[in-house]
Symmetry: C2
Subunit: 627 residues, 2 copies
């Protein structure tokens, strides 16, 4: 351990699960710990643990005077200079994130980039001086009308042995009718490819049989880069400022993907060498880090990415352990903050083939929007803030065991029913439910339910006239509403929603709504025919809650669809159908990207969108639901 | 040192220069040494040195009984089991080979595969969200009408930094209008490429400025693979049979080329990264070993090469230390024994653009022949044996200091005049000339001169009626002719030409001649208009000597040209003109390869061709010269 490293870093290096959403910037307050042992001098600073807490106003936000006396600190702001014993409170313990990236059943036309061709070569003889490669070419030409193919260099090195082993009968894997990327002895029918979705938080890999499209295995994990920052901006900062930061971030994701591949191999019994193609989607930052390109320029104006276009790189050049000749196809991105994941949604949902006016919302730390149909397509991105991911929400957390994912409030009694991840029962059935916080889908429910129950007004203010023991003022005189009593939790304290939480939700949904509104205005669109909610937890969101808080302009709730991890589906579609790759490049370029912050009307539109569901707009489709 | 290793291997590992042409098979007899210290048991075999000499009839060819008593052995047949002191006679000492691979002045149309384009990119701004790669593509399209270029992966990783360093002004190196293989900040005009000729014995590299074709530096060295076998067959055997043999042979040539590149960098002051293209020629075995393909199948019927076609491989994938994005272009081969070096001759001499009937002879251990003109082209290869390289000739040696390279015999007095490499004077001017043996060009002169002087008859037999102290019978009663008296040599013994040497030369030239004759017959050609002698020592051969011994069918000596290292010139032409690469692939395929050993008339044709100059054929062009 380097002297002077932060407690957060030390915990990471030791593999101790300490919560952190901001990645060590001292802005999320999730990594609060208590120092148990260590000498403290008169300034309250230990000679072995030096905390910047007392000096730094950042800490004042999260640690009050009493806690400071009890030696509570933010782990990310505390530097270790010797041995120390630390207590990690329950709420700072990192839960195992529940990975919610199941593949969606979709009908996909099968036309993979890599196809296998069984070949019977003319055996070499004294009166036929042709080389093995020329025999292979001749067979490809004669049997399949394929000509002038290049050959992968390491594949060439193994060719003669393989060809003879199979007694001049062999199977060639050909990439895009251009290059022989693998050869095997004899007749090999099955062909495998891997579609990968690199999310900021979660990484998922789908092993597909390339001739049928069947998903043979799904494997997922937390993005190992989370250790270096939980959101995109923290990772950009880490890559830009830390020495060796890019190398570490790239190394983490490559290692992670190799683990995913290892898991898939174990599950299915196929060999690494059998995986002959791979597609990858991810937001612009993930795309950069995966490609080992420093995302530093994404972090400052004018937020220029290195490359929009799709990239084909040999897996071996990236350190990805699949067939040595295989290519990794990284899907294109649309803009600095509209990444390949959004392009995945694009080719999965094909708004460019629809007559209906579609609004596609990809919910994450960064909201991504696509509006349009076959006539015109627009995209934009808005900084929703991390509220929907659980950060900047007092009891927000990621989708891990104990997170409240569904919640209902009785409009009359104001009593609360909720369900946590990892427990099929509601708190009304199981009092020992052990809630630890609220995750994304729960946050949507909380906002919608407190609004529908009249606990907050449409401006988001708590209505103190409501009679309920759950509505109260805290020590600072601020209103808060108790969602779970301490006895129902694992953290031994009440889980509440406070005024600041409501404000954060308002900012997030307001940004999303005004983005859609501005795009509609630019396109001259009055009404949206269909809303598609995408994103890792998109399919867990209650559509009505989303509509009630005003996440998007009015749309018939029957026409709101949650498509789950459409980005991952996009990766799978591009894996199974090579034409979709061209489609992705084409539409990633054709989509008109609107930089919302440059729109003069943004502030005005945004302000009106902060109300629940909106200050002016009517929602005829919700007339039976809204108060 | 491994116990039981041969003395030859031990010498190699210690870097001691011990002569060996056969590569340790006991068939050339060049590595004769005398054991000075070491215990010998009653069988004449030391406990520390075990020689198979007494048992092995191989040795009997080279070591007589008296020498055996004096503890002479072949180093390659003697195994070391302990400390030993060895004397290396002068004739077994390896001289520094004189590398004769100067580039020939040729007019080459300049159109390199890699071209540099100076670009001024539109700087990134908030209202232009394009990525750097897209800006680069836009500038290439706008300024040079180049579109849809791929980009080398490591080049992509450095792009943003480079572009910003040059303040959006940059130079892109584009390979074949397909791929951006390097980018540099600012306006860079000079562009460098390396043409490489990998000979079995010698490797040469020519650094060229790609926009002018100027040769800036030439660097050459012995092929470091010589340590593992001096001829092609020994190296094939080494790769096929020795564990790790291929790896060692490939590693040796890659390391050697990196040394050549290092030398060029030192001479010229350019950087490795500045070398942006490279072309390579070599015979089929050298091509395989350079590409790291096991040449094992070349060594046994039906002698199938892995690939005929040219290959483009990233330099970094081969371990070649030039620009990381650069490709190495390996020229195509024609057949198992007609390699890329011959293709080099082909595109340098362009017989396919000539009306005249051309015969191109590439002299080496393996003779390669091309016959034809614009109407038809044929090639063949014949096993000339290593006589022209100095092996299997009693006093043969490679072109090193002390080798007799020119020789004349007075037809009346039978007195001999000769010149050795490393001394500008003839032996008649400098008695201390220090001859050590006879190299290739000298061997041609010896054969022609003993024939013209009547010392041998046209059947190659010594005419013992000739009165000269130089013509004598040796201890075994075999005729020999003294070329250099012991006092004129560095090896303190007479240098002679013996009956066996003459036979070896007859076999070599007979094979070449009959190859040409069979091709002429197949093509229906009566007369050759022009003969081109190529090969590393081609330009040192006396054209008349070659004609007199009957190396090729009758041709006006004025129309015989020695073009030197045409193979290396071919590499340089392909480096400087990308269209010549396609031409090489086209003609390497179009040339009809004739397997001479399969021709039923070969034996008969060959037998007649053993005579000087031929048993039947007339040589009207030589009527003033022949006896």
């Amino acid at each position: 351990m380097v002297d002077g490293t932060t407690l957060l870093n030390a915990a990471r290096q030791l593999g101790a699960g300490l919560e952190s959403i901001c990645g060590g910037k001292g802005s999320c307050g999730k990594c609060k710990i208590r120092i148990e042992e260590g000498y403290f001098d008169k300034y309250g600073i230990s000679s072995s643990v030096k905390s910047t807490a007392t000096k730094d106003e950042v800490n004042a936000k999260f640690i009050n005077k009493q806690q400071l006396k009890q030696n509570y600190r933010l782990a990310c702001q505390t530097h270790v200079h010797g041995d120390v014993v630390v207590f990690v409170p329950e709420e700072s313990r990192k839960g195992q994130q529940v990975v919610r990236k199941e593949a969606t059943a979709r009908k996909i036309k099968i036309n993979p980039a890599v196809k296998k061709y069984y070949l019977e070569l003319k055996p070499a003889s004294l009166d036929d001086a042709a080389g093995d490669y020329e025999r292979l070419q001749a067979a490809l030409e004669k049997q399949y009308k394929l000509s002038n193919l290049a050959i992968d260099y390491p594949t060439l090195l193994e060719m003669q042995k393989t060809v003879r082993k199979g007694n001049w009968k062999m199977t060639a894997s050909v990439w895009k009718n251009k290059e022989i990327v693998d050869i095997e002895s004899g007749d090999v029918k099955k062909s495998y490819g891997l579609a990968v979705d690199i999310g900021t938080t979660t990484v998922a890999g789908y092993l597909c049989e390339l001739t049928t499209g069947e998903i043979l295995a799904t494997e997922s994990m937390m993005n190992p880069q989370v250790a270096y920052g939980e959101d995109v901006m923290s990772r950009i900062g880490y890559a830009a400022k830390e020495k060796g930061g890019l190398k570490r971030l790239n190394g983490a994701i490559i290692k992670g993907l190799n683990q995913i591949i290892g898991g898939i191999i174990k599950k299915t019994g196929i060999k690494r060498q059998d995986i002959i193609d791979m597609t990858v989607v991810g937001n612009t930052c993930m795309q950069h880090l995966f490609l080992n390109i420093n995302p530093q320029y994404l972090g400052r104006a004018p937020f220029t990415p290195a490359i929009h276009h799709s990239v084909d790189v040999k897996a071996r050049d990236m350190g990805i352990k699949i067939a040595s000749g295989a290519y990794v196809h990284v899907l294109p991105i649309e803009a600095g903050f509209v990444g390949a994941d959004n392009v995945g949604v694009l080719i999965a949902e094909e708004p460019y083939n629809q007559d209906e006016m579609l609004l596609i919302i990809d919910i994450g730390t960064n909201g991504e929007l696509i509006l349009g149909n076959r006539n015109r397509l627009m995209s934009s991105s808005c900084a929703t803030g991390p509220a929907f991911e659980g950060a900047e929400i007092r009891h927000g957390m990621r989708a891990a065991a104990g997170a409240i994912e569904k919640l209902k409030i009785d409009p009359k009694t104001k009593e609360v029913q909720f369900k946590v991840i990892g427990n099929d029962k509601w708190n009304t059935e199981d009092k020992k439910i052990g809630a630890r916080g609220i995750c994304g889908s729960g946050i949507f429910d909380v906002a919608a339910q407190v609004f529908l129950a009249g606990i907050i007004d449409n401006g988001g203010r708590f209505n103190m006239k409501v009679k309920s023991p759950r509505l109260r003022l805290n020590g600072k005189g601020e209103a808060e509403f108790v969602l779970a009593w301490a006895k129902e939790t694992a953290i031994k304290q009440d889980i509440v929603v406070c005024q600041k939480d409501i404000r954060a939700i308002q900012l997030a949904k307001g940004a999303m709504y005004s983005g859609a509104r501005i795009m509609m205005k630019r396109m001259g669109v009055k009404k949206i025919d269909r809303v598609i909610l995408a994103g890792a937890f998109g399919s867990y969101i209650d559509k009505t809650s989303a509509a009630v808080i005003g996440l998007f302009p009015d749309c018939d709730p029957k026409r709101v669809y949650a498509v789950g991890n459409a980005a991952g589906d996009g990766a799978r579609i591009a894996l199974l159908n090579v034409d979709k790759r061209d489609e992705a490049d084409l539409w990633a370029r054709r989509v008109e990207y609107i930089e919302l912050t440059l729109e003069p009307e943004f502030n005005n539109t945004f302000t009106k969108a902060l109300n629940f569901p909106h200050a002016e707009d009517k929602f005829p489709s919700l007339k039976n639901i809204l108060p």
